[in-house]
Symmetry: C2
Subunit: 234 residues, 2 copies
């Protein structure tokens, strides 16, 4: 196997817990304002607008817009369903920033620290640069660079996002490994020549609702990021 020099990470679900983080962040902001929602259902509803919004960009129906913009658009779509019609613009802006403070899964910070000792590491996420920067600060991640959708100006799984990441590091695809908890992301990366590592996140969408195992062939299947470090001798 060709030597891997760089690891590219999916972030939402793979490195951080978006579901628990959005639910907790929304409750922290909205409960003091008198709101009482099903916070996890709210997080699920917000996330469920994610792919359709990106598809507008991928299909070329709207120009590239960073994920913060799509998140806000999606929030405005779901607000009526949760009785949040009258939330002020400033509170919506603050609510949108809950994505910037998502918490790492328990293994992520240590796993990334170990992996960085041996590999160049970068997020190749659909999240925008400022979002990735704030999540890194919140969780003590040390990325070598922030790559992904905003640099490529398109969204995964479009080929350009993977290609732009390899090009930014001057590496051929087979020296880069995509790390994700989602088989669809890994299948796309593999189709463009990258190596792949699957991370089990069996509870990403709630208890038992996540990928415990990959559904596509991968180079490595790991239990978490510390296990990935062990499997890569990092």
């Amino acid at each position: 196997m060709v030597q891997v020099r760089s690891l590219f990470f999916d972030v939402f679900g793979t490195v951080v817990d978006w579901r628990g983080g959005v639910a907790h962040g929304a409750e922290t902001l909205l409960a003091p304002l008198g709101y009482d929602l099903d916070w996890l259902a709210f997080a699920d509803a917000w996330r469920s607008e994610y792919q359709p919004a990106m598809e507008e960009v991928r299909a070329g129906r709207i120009p590239f817009s960073k994920l913060d913009v799509l998140h806000r658009y999606n929030l405005d779509r779901i607000r009526p369903r949760f009785g949040l019609d009258r939330l002020s613009d400033e509170d919506c802006r603050r609510l949108n920033l809950v994505w910037h403070r998502l918490p790492a899964w328990p293994d992520s910070t240590e796993g990334l620290r170990r992996l960085r000792a041996k590999f160049l590491i970068a997020p190749v996420s659909n999240g925008n640069i400022s979002l990735m920067v704030d999540i890194a600060r919140r969780n003590d991640f040390m990325w070598d660079a922030i790559l992904g959708a905003e640099v490529a100006r398109d969204y995964k799984p479009k080929p350009e996002v993977y290609n732009a990441a390899c090009a930014a590091f001057d590496l051929p695809p087979d020296q880069c490994m995509m790390v994700a908890a989602h088989s669809s992301d890994l299948a796309a990366a593999a189709a463009h020549g990258l190596r792949t590592a699957h991370i089990a996140r069996p509870n990403e969408h709630g208890p038992g609702k996540g990928e415990a195992d990959p559904t596509v062939p991968v180079d490595i299947a790991a239990k978490d990021l510390i296990d990935l470090a062990a499997k890569l001798s990092a």
Copy 2:
């Protein structure tokens, strides 16, 4: 004064010593091959092709090309003058990478570490992403993100490079401060609304050949990056 939240750094000359680094790197590579040049003159000659090459991109005469590509083009232009006509393509490739291993000025690593405790920090350099990543690894710099020419796909002092950096961090220009040892860079940043800090590098181009003081109005003039940290209470 509006609160500054992010510091953007020029890198070549401001954070690292390109002249000493290129001279030393070239000697390390070429002396064992039997070459004996005036290494500092070679570094100066290579650097003197820097602005004209970028101007081809800025003026739209050639498409955006990352600095590694321009460095290699410039190397091929100056090789005959230094008797390096017969250097192999592989040795030229290795020689071009001396820019990836430039050494920090003595204050840079500690200064950046202190500044990072209070501000988001990013290079806004004309150097490409992989070049910035390798220099950071070599010198233990911890950037929040790699911004600059490759992200903006144009070269300083074009407005787009400064604007793209502010936009990546979701900040208005007056919450961003450009840090550079070159008054021309700071004048351009100030023209686009950024705050400015000048770093004295009086020996950048050789003894006494560098900017000991800014030649334009700046918000802060500092002796080095540790002094800048002190002046910003970081």
